[in-house]
């Protein structure tokens, strides 16, 4: 519980700090909610498409997993020796969640993109047929 609390508050705190810094530096002033999510924006010069997405998702999953394991180990050895197989459960339980969630997310993303492409293809054909 303490680990979760620390993660939430640290993440939000860093986000607020970054937001305040980016506001003072200028380019993102005004309406913030109408902007396209910048997290999904490809970096300049990066390759686009499925390969870039897979690389970003893999990097995020591996980085997040390692970060959480570091927090869990630091909590276990530095704060409280939690009873039971805490460390083993952390390593295997979170790995299982990733193994369940990422394929589901990938399949859902692929189906959504396929449906969107089909819809735009059909709309293009209808426009071509109309006089």
């Amino acid at each position: 519980m303490l680990a979760g609390y620390l993660l939430i508050m640290t993440t939000l705190g860093v986000g607020l700090r970054l937001l305040a810094r980016s506001k003072t530096s200028g380019p993102h002033e005004g309406s913030q909610t109408a902007e396209r999510p910048e997290g999904t924006r490809p970096a300049a010069g990066s390759r686009r498409g499925w390969l870039a997405l897979a690389r970003q998702v893999t990097g995020t999953a591996v980085g997040g997993y390692l970060l959480l394991m570091a927090v869990v180990i630091a909590y276990y050895y530095g704060v409280a020796r939690v009873a039971g197989d805490f460390i083993t459960s952390a390593f295997t339980g979170t790995a299982m969640l990733i193994a369940i969630a990422l394929p589901l997310w990938g399949t859902a993303s692929w189906l959504t993109e396929r449906r969107r492409q089909r819809a735009s293809h059909d709309a293009g054909q209808r426009e071509a047929r109309s006089p």
Partner: protein, 75 residues
């Protein structure tokens, strides 16, 4: 360290209450508070921010759905 679970529930209730209040005020445009979406958008610009958010999501899933379950997902 306090062992009573009520304290833990109270801390979480206060935390989530504060989050909802913050989001409500920012969506109502009372003062110039950024919305949670704004905050998360900024966090997700950076790889370390994405790692932290993914770690948070992972911890939430592990804490609520894996740890302590003895039915399908035995911890």
């Amino acid at each position: 360290m306090v062992r009573h679970p009520l304290v833990g529930y109270l801390v979480w209730a206060v935390l989530f209450g504060a989050l909802f209040a913050w989001e409500g005020l920012s969506l109502a445009r009372v003062a110039s508070l950024p919305t949670l979406s704004d905050v998360f958008r900024v966090i997700m610009r950076y790889p370390v921010g994405r790692w932290a958010l993914f770690a948070l999501w992972l911890w939430t899933g592990w804490h609520f759905f894996v740890r302590g379950w003895h039915f399908l997902l035995r911890a």
